[in-house]
Amino acid sequence: MLRITCPYCGPRDELEFRCGGEAHIVRPGPPETVSDEDWGAYLFQRQNPVGAHHERWVHEGGCRQWFHLVRDTRTHEVIAVYKMDEPKPEVPE
């Protein structure tokens, strides 16, 4: 069970959170300018890295705030936590 540090509430058990998947995906638009391929890529293509993954989580059982995590998908180590409006941290590959 992961221990995640909510930037607003502090460290809590995984049970209080929900993972929202990959972060920093740019929603393309306006719709009439987006090709079927680009829209499909936005909807479905994911980086799915073996290693550091930038992802978003919500503290659903707590403050209901969304925030970002960098987590290693091999070890589940949490490398960084940052708020939605904070810049993406540089992490080693």
Binding site: E14, D36, A41, R46, T73
Partner: protein
């Protein structure tokens, strides 16, 4: 079923194949006469085709390439030991009780191959068609079950609704009382569904492919995919040296994204941990596979006697091949609640695989954006039951350059046309 065994095959089976007769003969000679189930050859510099991934799908692909298409100068490259990925980590359920005609065609093709696989491979893969019951726990579930059964029968996959009394008779351990947290309203059964022995399926395909001349190369990790000036594949780099080829089939569940990245494209895949569980061996107490729609929990009893339990995957991306505790407790609590006598049965072992999940939970089969590179991925939590069809269709596409009819709807293009085949959309049945 009918069996037509030609004379030469009888001689082969009795002499060098596997049979009760040979087992007795070898036993009398101290079992010294059994040879390797497959060779461990050194990789050649060049093959007509390479299959990356020595799991069930990869080994089956090699077998069908050799058998159906006569391609024998081929190799399977496996990073670890064959059958060590999801082939050896699943709950061994085989079934074709799918809603959409495309899915039904695909999975029933697979089930039919499974039904004769032991004979075909001369290896007891222990296909046990003990039937699978899907439980409905509410009016909505039950209405959905009717819709599913109607669709499946229309698709030519025979299934039948069961009353609560019939379910209680088939699954005595199940709590069907109206006061249960998930009361049982009914369910449906596919009689041809069941289980298979997962390791044996990998080993049986490996042995049969090896006999046809396929090189199975273990401990050989692909580290790069070479492409020529026209962009087409020319070979691979591996931990055991470079190997040239013009056709590569990828069957690397849990690693598809990484391999695609080596070839320079991306896939609509996210990788999650899927857990499975087995209890200590018990005397027979459950003779069907049961799926509870509301809790998403699978249960069957292995031939050894352990209750084999599966559920949904863990809810964040992971390559760790180990499951997390909250997901494990969710699944096991469901079993303890729905089968009140099993609360005192003890969990023996938990394990996990890394599964490649696609939005519509249907596989991606066929060509990739790179010439000469073919895909067999995205099976999510349901790849085991599809090993024979995954192998057949990948082999067909690699050998003929055209998609196999049952694989055609599952191309990568569907993610830009929107033609998803989402079984979950039609019901919420996890798979």
């Amino acid at each position: 079923m009918s069996y037509r065994i030609s004379d030469w095959k009888i001689i082969w089976v009795l002499g060098v194949g596997y049979s009760g007769f040979r087992l007795i003969r070898e036993a009398l000679r101290g079992h010294r006469g059994w040879g390797p189930a497959w060779r461990s050859p050194e990789p050649k510099a060049r093959y007509d085709a390479l299959i990356v991934g020595g799991g069930g799908h990869g080994l089956a692909t090699a077998y069908y390439l050799a058998k159906n298409h006569g391609l024998t100068n081929i190799a399977v490259l496996e990073k670890g030991w064959i059958g060590g990925g999801n082939t050896g980590r699943n709950t061994t359920v085989i079934r074709s009780n799918y809603y959409y005609p495309e899915s039904a065609a695909l999975y029933d093709f697979s089930l039919k191959l499974y039904e004769n696989l032991a004979q075909e491979l001369n290896y007891n893969v222990m296909i046990s068609q003990r039937g699978m019951i899907t439980l409905a726990h509410s009016r909505h579930d039950l209405e959905g079950a009717h819709r599913w059964v109607g669709a499946m029968n229309a698709n030519g996959v025979e299934t039948r609704m069961l009353s609560v009394a019939e379910i209680k008779r088939r699954i005595p351990a199940l709590d069907v009382s109206p006061t249960a947290r998930y009361p049982v309203w009914g369910g449906f059964m596919q009689k041809r569904a069941g289980t298979g022995r997962h390791d044996a399926i990998a080993w049986g395909y490996a042995r049969a492919a090896d006999r046809l001349g396929v090189d199975i190369i273990q401990n050989c990790e692909v580290t790069g995919i070479d492409r020529g000036p026209d962009g087409a594949v020319t070979g691979v780099q591996t931990t055991r040296g470079a190997i040239a080829t013009s056709k590569i089939g990828l069957a690397v569940s849990g690693r598809s994204t990484a391999l695609a990245e080596m070839a320079g494209f991306r896939l609509p895949i996210t990788t999650y941990a899927l857990q499975a569980f087995v209890t200590e061996p018990l005397k027979p107490c459950l003779d069907v596979v049961v799926l509870s729609l509301s809790t998403g929990t699978y249960l069957s009893q292995s031939d050894k006697g352990g209750l084999v339990i599966g559920g949904g995957f863990d809810l964040y991306p992971s390559y760790a091949q180990r499951g997390n505790l909250p997901a494990a407790r969710r699944v096991l609590a469901a079993v303890a609640d729905q089968y009140p006598g099993f609360g005192r049965v003890r969990l023996l072992r938990q394990w996990a695989g890394a599964v490649d999940v696609v939005h519509d939970s249907s596989p991606i089969l066929g060509t990739s954006p790179v010439e000469g590179l073919y895909l067999n991925c995205g099976w999510g939590t349901g790849g085991f039951k599809a090993i024979p069809v995954g192998g057949t269709t990948l082999a067909h596409h690699m050998a003929t350059g055209r998609p196999h009819a049952v694989a055609a709807p599952f191309s990568l293009e569907r993610f830009s046309t929107g033609a998803l085949i989402d079984e979950a959309a039609a019901s919420g049945i996890p798979h």
